[in-house]
């Protein structure tokens, strides 16, 4: 009888400890959807389409007529320094209100140290027809004879050249290795009461830091020019800040 009681005790203890362990494993972190909103300015001046009202660091008066780009490898840095990276690939259009917000799912509520995105696509994602054939994606295709994959950024407009003549410019970035990791090293919180993250792109930053980009010198057309695309992609690292 004593043996039976002992065995029963061991079994119950085993069940209890098993349940304890299971409970610990089953408690998931509280997930919080996060709405990301992106807005734009040019050195603090609000974005107005097709108006040569801005001046870049090189002194080129310029307008912005089109700005399309991708976000990928969206990541948040936990307080312990580890990064949580999401698989979302998001297409954005500065002049389409419907394409400047997106919802991120799967993040745990809590405090974070930093926010990071890749502007464009990393090589493992950037191959011909790797994205679904949406209207937006097919208009971002980077032709196969030029390397395949997708445009990472299309920034277009007009500028006044050295003779004060109106010229167009098309800053297109694509091709593997010319994606831009952009980091905002500033803490933020995600919880039920704070579920929106407001990002702001300073478009002027594409033309400066670390590389001053003079449209009269570097040229008004970047596609197919690796040196131009490299300069622009390097400038992308600090185009975003929290609003």
């Amino acid at each position: 009888m004593r043996v039976v009681i002992q065995l029963t005790g061991i079994v119950l203890l085993g069940i209890w400890s098993g349940c304890q362990k299971e409970d610990t494993q089953l408690i998931p972190p509280v997930e919080q959807e996060m709405l990301v909103r992106v807005s734009y300015d040019v050195d603090g001046d609000s974005l107005v389409a097709s108006d040569i009202r801005y001046t870049n660091a090189a002194g080129n008066p310029f307008s912005v007529n089109r700005l399309n780009y991708y976000f990928s490898h969206i990541a948040v840095q936990n307080l312990d320094g580890a990064w949580t990276t999401l698989e979302d690939i998001v297409y954005l259009d500065a002049f389409d209100a419907d394409k400047n917000t997106f919802l991120l799912k799967g993040l745990a509520a809590g405090n974070y140290k930093a926010f990071r995105v890749v502007i464009g696509l990393e090589p493992d994602q950037n191959s011909s027809n790797s994205l679904p054939p949406t209207v937006d994606n097919i208009n971002m295709i980077w032709p196969e004879p030029m390397g395949g994959g997708y445009h990472f950024v299309k920034l277009e407009g007009y500028f006044l050249d050295g003779t004060n003549s109106n010229q167009g410019y098309a800053m297109h970035i694509g091709k593997n290795t010319f994606h831009s990791p952009a980091i905002i090293s500033q803490s933020f919180e995600i919880n039920a009461g704070k579920d929106t993250l407001d990002l702001k792109m300073n478009i002027a930053s594409w033309f400066e830091g670390p590389n001053q980009y003079d449209l009269n010198i570097q040229g008004n057309y970047s596609m197919g020019k690796d040196s131009s695309m490299r300069k622009l992609s390097e400038n992308g690292y600090d185009v975003f800040s929290f609003k």
């Binding site: 089109r66 032709p143 030029m146 167009g168 098309a170």
Partner: protein, 352 residues
């Protein structure tokens, strides 16, 4: 125990019967629904195409498409013998060479190719919705439709009353208010137009290794899809249009319909901008540009090679340093580009 099993068996039997009754009831209900309404149609979209723009107000049905196809090809809508197909010949990819508007301006008639994927219609994008695109066609410029005559002809026709009933549940067209009747006609025609999908050209067959391109076509393809020709930015695959508005430099002074998108928005930044047309079946749809000023593809390529006119709204893509006035291609390259454009012809689209 025996009694318990017996009850369980009974329960199973009753449950089974219940499920059978439910299934039969549901099937009967489905059958009734099918008999009373039009049959939904799923548009057959090539896997490499984007999703089509479909209207929840005008869902695609087999009966709607059937009615639309008949109306599209029938002069019953007009008082002047015209039908949609008068200006949209199937053998010309549902186009015709030119149409003269009431202002005496020549307009190159946009072909009805892959319209299901367009966000707007007409050269200047004046019509944002396909379902009501033809509402203006009843006016004097096109059909000059006589209201009473239209009612009389449709209601006494041998087949239309039944087709309207099947497509839209209209028991008597005479009981439908005139604007609503025109809307239903346009709904049916737009359903039919959405089915006009072209995706089986020589080039498409080349991509899936069913056919080969010759050396000249390959050369043209590489010009088209590279900075040399830079055609792809506005006419990229698979639709061969980006469905956006551009000033491609055909004019530097903008008068009348040459003002393009400006006529819709009133924004001076839109002067001379036109919707990029699809280049699919382009060999069938001469003449070219919004006013049909170029009679041949050779003339079009020559224009892009040396005839581009600068203005403040010339598309930024076309202002690349060194190519301000054109592409500067060799004769062979120009011929190759034309040869490639001809590979975008889908002969099955205009014959089947």
């Amino acid at each position: 125990m025996t009694s318990f099993l017996s009850n369980r068996t009974k329960t199973k039997v009753f449950l089974g019967l219940g499920i059978c009754v439910w299934i039969i009831a549901c099937q009967k209900e489905d059958a009734v629904q099918t008999q009373s309404g039009p049959t939904p149609m799923e548009l057959q979209v090539p896997p490499f195409f984007p999703k089509p723009y479909l209207s929840p107000d005008n869902p695609l049905t087999y009966e709607g498409v059937e009615l639309g196809q008949k109306l599209y090809n029938d002069a019953i809508l007009s008082s002047n013998g015209l039908s949609c197909s008068s200006c949209h010949h199937k053998d010309l990819a549902y186009s015709i060479p030119l149409f003269m508007n009431q202002q005496g301006e020549a307009i190159s008639v946009p072909p009805h190719v892959n319209l299901a994927f367009n966000p707007d219609y007409n050269w200047n994008g004046s019509q944002p919705i396909l379902d009501t695109l033809c509402m203006d066609d009843f006016g004097p410029a096109f059909f000059n439709t006589h209201r009473d005559s239209l009612y009389q002809r449709l209601s006494t026709h041998a087949t239309y009353p039944k087709l309207f009933q099947k497509a839209f549940g209209i028991e008597d067209v005479n009981s439908v208010e005139y604007t609503l009747l025109k809307q239903k006609i346009c709904y049916a025609i737009s359903q039919y137009m959405r089915t006009l999908i072209s995706a089986d050209s020589h080039f498409d067959r080349f991509l899936v290794k069913k056919e080969n391109l010759n050396a000249m076509e390959i050369e043209g393809m590489s010009i088209f899809f590279s900075e040399k020709g830079d055609c792809f930015h506005c006419h990229g695959a698979p639709l061969f249009t980006d469905n956006r508005f551009h000033n491609n430099g055909v004019d530097s002074v903008f008068i009348g319909m040459n003002q393009g998108r400006y006529q819709v928005t009133g924004n001076t930044n839109d002067l001379g901008l036109f919707s990029s047309p699809t280049l699919r079946n382009i060999a069938y749809t001469a003449p070219y540009m919004h006013d049909g000023r170029f009679k041949t593809l050779e003339e079009v390529v020559e224009f892009y090679d040396s005839g581009v006119r600068r203005s403040s709204t010339l598309d930024p893509i076309m202002t690349k340093a060194g190519k301000e006035s054109g592409l500067h291609l060799s004769d062979y390259q120009k011929k190759s580009l034309v040869a490639f454009l001809k590979t975008l012809s889908d002969s099955g689209f205009i014959t089947n």
